[in-house]
Amino acid sequence: MREVDRRNKYDRRVFLKGAASTVPAAAVASATGLGITDAWAEDAKALTPATLKTLVKVARDIYPHDFLADRYYIVAVKPWDGKAAEDAAVKAMITDGIARLDQDARDRHKVPYAQVPWEVDRVALLVGIEQTTFFKTLRGDLVVSLYNQKELWPKFGYEGSSAEHGGYINRGFSDIDWLPKA
């Protein structure tokens, strides 16, 4: 069977250019090869860097994929800063939502959410707010803003657009080789 190359096959510059409007600092950080520094959160317009960093942690706890670096979660949640800058209600929803989560964390673990060391304990805190508009809105957005990043598709073994490659007629549409003989 033809396996999918799990390495990122997308043009890195195109990816970064595409993401540049939303995450310039993240783009710079990963383009320089230095990995993600906190720089990406420092240019926030409406949300505090601490709120944004907690959002990234929350995003990872909602959809934890250990083979994904933080930059994918940053791309997924950073647009909330822009939305918060345009809409006071959005800003309040995010700010209040994170504040409550931090408060719950302090009540239970004496530290803010992002510093609660074990995922299982953070998830228990998320379960506590699962029915809030904040959580539902965040999760509903994240299921698209995370999984719709073309750059992470190869990591999940998904090949994306196929018509420009002539479909799969010569690229393994029927190459399964492990089934028992019918």
Binding site: Y147, N148, F156, E159, S162, A163, Y168, I169, L179, P180
Partner: protein, 522 residues
């Protein structure tokens, strides 16, 4: 290409350009009858289609506001998206999978065969299979359905091979790559399937039949068909005698226009069609057009559906190739020993990664969900589709509050599963899982129904005027020159995918309309 005057009251106006409307429009045009199709959506051509699920959804899907109620899970997870259908020229034939199956004889006689099922508003169709057979044959020829007319079946993809191996192990007999309106070899000026996948996003090779690039251009070539895209029907008008006289519609600029008509045929899918009839209420027809029975909007059916995905030790890459070219038909038979009436089909299905995330278990999060997502390349998938029970209370009504941008009440969709639907789905989940477990699935996922793709029954056919909205030709019982031409005519839903039957009915209806026009009956 024809261009008809809005005051030309000799034209047939068809609302909608999908399987029903697009086919009817071409058939009438071929007979020399002047036709104006009003299509709410825009016109995209094959090069415009996008191999990207969300981008394509944004391009093609009907996302105008709708509301929902009832106990179905869609009302909770997708409160304003009860149906996944298309708003574009070609209608839902742009995104349909291509499965083209005939009803079984007993499925036209559901009331007689199943008896009185409590809570169900079952009725026999006023037509029989024998009556429909020649029209099915014409539809299969027109659409180039595989395994008919000496057209070979499509080759099986990886997803099919898993389904087939499991089904054979379980002893199922009727297992093949389906009766698909997708070219397995070049035909009718269109090429053979390139196994692209993305059948639901518009076929980039044109191998799959769609009215967009078959019926509609053929009709336009006669000079008798004009398609006005971006034209949203608002209201059907009538005269003092109760005959319809034209259609008010918002043009692509949002300006109100009136197209006069000799005949109006409604084919806007089973949510918009009843909505339009209800929104066309007048002092003469206070409950809506063609609604003296009170049946407009009722008996909404969406098929018993669900999916089973399964994870294996080894890769499958289910998304490669034709999405639905694979079927197990053994459970489609009528066998009440299983604890329910009606039957169901099991058909291959795959979603890309973005849609899998959205639909595998809507609302789910955390490690059990992401663990499933990480098995994506090792997944196989099938769709379950079976006959659901019509119920009077499953119904399209006008929302009392929400209005569209033209100020018209939007459709509100109420749906509760019937106990028979639940029993069938439970059985289908079990059999679907067993198929995959027979060939080594390590996990199976009984996946909840998606927003409805098969919307049926809301203007149903009936022998007697009091039981339904239209007669056996789709002509409304109340208004002689008003027709319904889409799946909303369905008296009951049968187990199989509805498009072939919609097309067969449209070909037959064109014949009837042409005859009635010639005899000056309408």
């Amino acid at each position: 290409m024809a261009k008809f005057d809005q005051n030309d009251s000799s034209v047939v106006v068809i609302i909608g350009s999908g399987a029903g409307g697009g086919t009817l429009g071409n058939e009438l045009a071929q007979k020399g009858i002047k036709v104006v199709i009003l299509e709410a959506g825009n016109r995209y051509e094959i090069p415009d289609f996008i191999n990207d699920e969300w981008e394509s959804f944004t391009q093609l899907a009907w996302t105008d506001m709708r509301t929902t109620s009832g106990t179905w899970r869609v009302a909770k997870d997708f409160a304003n998206l009860p149906a996944w259908i298309v708003k574009a020229v070609g209608g839902s034939t742009v995104h349909w999978a291509g499965a083209s199956l005939r009803f079984e004889e007993h499925e036209f006689k559901a009331r007689t065969t199943y008896g009185g099922v409590p809570g169900a508003s079952l009725l026999d169709w006023p037509v029989t299979l024998a009556e429909m057979e020649p029209w099915y044959a014409k539809a299969e020829f027109k659409m180039g359905v595989t395994r008919t007319n000496d057209i070979p079946g499509l080759p099986g993809n990886n997803n099919f091979k898993v389904l087939e191996a499991g089904a054979r192990k379980l002893g199922y007999k009727t297992v093949h790559t389906g009766n698909m309106a997708i070219n397995s070899q070049p035909r009718d000026g269109r090429g053979a399937c390139q196994q692209i996948g993305f059948c639901f996003q518009g076929c980039k090779s044109g191998a799959k039949w769609s009215t967009l690039y078959t019926e509609i251009p053929k009709g336009e070539a006669t000079g008798n068909l004009e398609v006005r895209s971006g034209s949203m029907a608002i209201k059907i008008e009538h005269d003092a005698s109760g005959k319809v006289t034209g259609v008010v519609y918002a043009d692509s600029q949002g300006k109100m226009q009136l197209q006069k008509a000799r005949i109006v045929a409604v084919a806007g899918n089973s949510i918009e069609s009843p909505r339009l009839l209800l929104n066309s209420a007048s002092s003469m027809f206070p409950d809506g057009l063609a609604n003296s029975s009170g049946q407009v909007g009722r008996n909404y059916m969406r098929h018993m559906t669900g999916s089973v995905y399964a994870t294996f030790e080894n890769p499958v890459h289910m998304y490669r190739g034709t999405t639905m070219a694979g079927i197990v038909r053994d459970e489609a038979a009528f066998n009440p020993k299983r604890g329910f009436v009606g039957g169901y089909e099991m058909e291959t299905l795959s979603l890309g990664l973005p849609f899998m995330a959205a639909f595998l278990n809507p609302g789910a999060w955390g490690r059990s969900f992401t663990a499933a997502m990480e098995t994506y390349p090792r997944m196989a998938g099938m769709w379950l589709v079976g006959e659901d029970m019509p119920q009077e209370t499953n119904r399209i009504t006008l929302d009392p509050v929400a209005k569209d941008k033209f100020g018209m009440p939007v459709a509100s969709v109420h749906f509760d599963d019937h106990p028979n639907d639940v029993a069938m789905r439970t059985h289908a989940y079990k059999q679907g899982s067993a198929i995959y477990e027979a060939v080594g699935a390590t996990v199976t996922y009984p996946t909840t129904p998606y927003p409805s793709t098969h919307n049926l029954g809301t203007n149903r056919m009936s022998e007697k005027a009091k039981d339904g909205v239209v007669n056996k030709f789709g002509q409304t019982h109340d208004v002689k020159n008003l027709f319904v031409s889409d799946g909303s005519q369905f008296t009951t839903g049968a187990a199989c995918n509805p498009t072939l039957t919609i097309v067969a009915l449209a070909i037959r209806q064109a014949d009837y309309i042409a005859g009635a026009m010639q005899k000056k009956e309408i």
